[in-house]
Amino acid sequence: MNMLARRMRASAVAAALCLSAAVPGLAFADPMRIAFGDIATVESLHLLAALERAKEKGVDVQVTFLKSEDIAAQAVVSGQADIGIGGPYALLQKVKAPIRIFLQLSKLQFYPVVNTEFYKEWKDLNGQEVAVHSRGSGTEAIMQLMADKNGIAYSNISYVPGAEVRTGALLQGNVKATIVDSSGKRILEKEAPGKFAFLPLGEVAATDEALFANTDYLSKNQKDVEILVESILTTWREVAADPTSAVALREKYKLLPDATPDMVADIDPYFAEAAPALPLNGGGEDAAKDDFDFYTISGALEGNAADLKVEDFWDLTALNAVLAKIGTK
């Protein structure tokens, strides 16, 4: 009798455990799993805020931060994430995975910079060494594009991953000519005013980061995707209209709680600089065509830019539906 009671108790506990494990799974049967290709920084603050807004509207967003864009793309390809962040053009072209980009988040914003002790302008870089992020990266493509435009050739291109690493190397004098991001530019201007010159850059419009997902996921979860796109576009427009609103968004949604005072101080200047370049209409066909031009030069895409088809890389359904609702800017 005692034995039976013990057994029954054991089964009851086991059943309860199973049920408690299964119930949350049922309640949120279909979370939207988003894979970032980098850790969350000040630069992704507006995106984090937009995700919070999508959550408010009932989309169960789950965010994972991965080590690199490649890994985020692989997570989407293998179905371990629904939506990835990055610029997976090469992957889309070479791997026939049913992945499409559906929203442009940001454009490449880089600043070629030289140490004025050695160089003053593009022409001075003829036959000199420059440092860029990595082989086949956007930074290399920009430097190569500008070399072609100015009729010069570098003696060597060295690869130093990380804009903050290149900024440090520039300050230490290990690198004399390179290309940095906007936070690197601000550090250089603050640490050594006048020591470095930023070289003029022609028209470079290419996607830095975009959202992409499996076509299957996009068609099955159209409503959620539209909510996400709308949250992002409205947040983008808000930040573009008033760059200081980024700080308010951080406070409202308690984002980046571990940010250091230095990072917090960087929010305003970053968005003041980034706001005019934010894509307010989510990229779409025009952005895709710009990307074809740029990435065929960078080597990420093969073939002739004019021959590439937008529908092979982008799925515009959600974006067009949202733009019809909130209008274009």
């Binding site: 490649d70 390809v77 791997v95 026939k96 995975a97 082989r135 130093v160 991953p161 080597g299």
Partner: protein, 280 residues
């Protein structure tokens, strides 16, 4: 998949008409005489499985064996592979050489002297247990991103293995041989040079081989975690532009080079240093 059929299968189907029992016998006889037969069969099985897995495909980003082979040949012919190896080998060769000299020296010292053991053994045991992939990025904080940092990464992986194996080798020298040396009134120096080191040689060499294998791991970690150069650059670059066949080819080639290096070292050891182990 059919192209990767093993050579013995081809001959088996080709001669099926003349009676299968003799074919099997000849094959068994051939396999008995040449040990390399089984190596070929093993590799052929692996590559066939790879080809099938690639054709299923198990992932959109997983190339078939033949695609990978084509990519490898392409990289070998267009002159990207050799210069890449020239760059990868610099930190590897320097690092392994330093680790071998320093490691065998320290290991023997630790085996012979209790004081050296007391001082060094805990350090190397901790180093061997430490997850080096987590420590390699820290090297850059002190030594930057150049050759020194990468060589150091190789040493960090190779040195503890070599030291600990050398130390064990000396500690496990047959005590009756040492006693014999003492009976014959051998000096301490003779004991070390004539008994301990020769008797420890097999394990010393095993340590050296493990150290070189660890050195290959170290150089790849350095090239993937510090800055992409050499083979590490080929892997990262082809991954970033989604040339997965080329990426797998670069990975497979470094595995092959590492295996061949170790096999060559074993051959040299058996051929020249330990004649008693040679197969007659």
């Amino acid at each position: 998949m059919h192209m990767a059929a093993t050579p013995h299968k081809v001959s088996a189907t080709g001669g099926a008409g003349s009676g299968s029992s003799t074919i099997v016998e000849t094959l068994a006889e051939f396999a008995r005489r040449r040990k390399s037969f089984w190596v070929v069969v093993s590799l052929a099985t692996l590559f066939t499985a790879w080809e099938i897995a690639g054709r299923v495909p198990i992932s959109f980003a997983f190339p078939t064996f033949l695609e990978t082979l084509a990519a490898l040949i392409e990289m070998a012919l267009d002159g990207t592979l050799l210069p890449a190896y020239a760059i990868t080998f610099q930190p590897l060769v320097i690092g392994v050489a330093v680790s071998a000299v320093l490691g065998i020296g320290l290991g023997i010292a630790m085996g012979l002297s209790d004081k050296a053991e007391w001082l060094l053994a805990p350090v190397f045991i901790v180093l061997q247990a430490a997850p080096m992939a987590a420590l390699v990025p820290l090297v850059t904080f002190v030594y930057g991103i150049g050759l020194v940092a990468k060589t150091l990464a190789v040493i960090m992986l190779a040195l503890p293995v070599i030291v600990l194996n050398s130390y064990k080798a000396v500690r496990h020298v047959n005590p009756s041989l040492v006693d014999m040396c003492r009976s014959f009134q051998g000096t301490r120096l003779q004991q070390i040079s004539k008994i301990i080191i020769p008797d420890a040689t097999p394990v010393l060499f095993a340590g050296l081989r493990l150290g070189i294998a660890a050195g290959f791991i170290g150089v790849m970690l350095a090239e993937l975690l510090i800055t992409p150069t050499g083979i590490g650059d080929l892997i990262t670059y082809h991954r970033s532009i989604a040339n997965y066949a080329h990426m797998y080819a670069a990975v497979a080639s470094i595995i092959a080079v590492s295996t061949i290096t170790l096999a060559a070292l074993q051959y040299i050891e058996v051929r020249f240093l330990r004649p008693e182990k040679r197969r007659k």
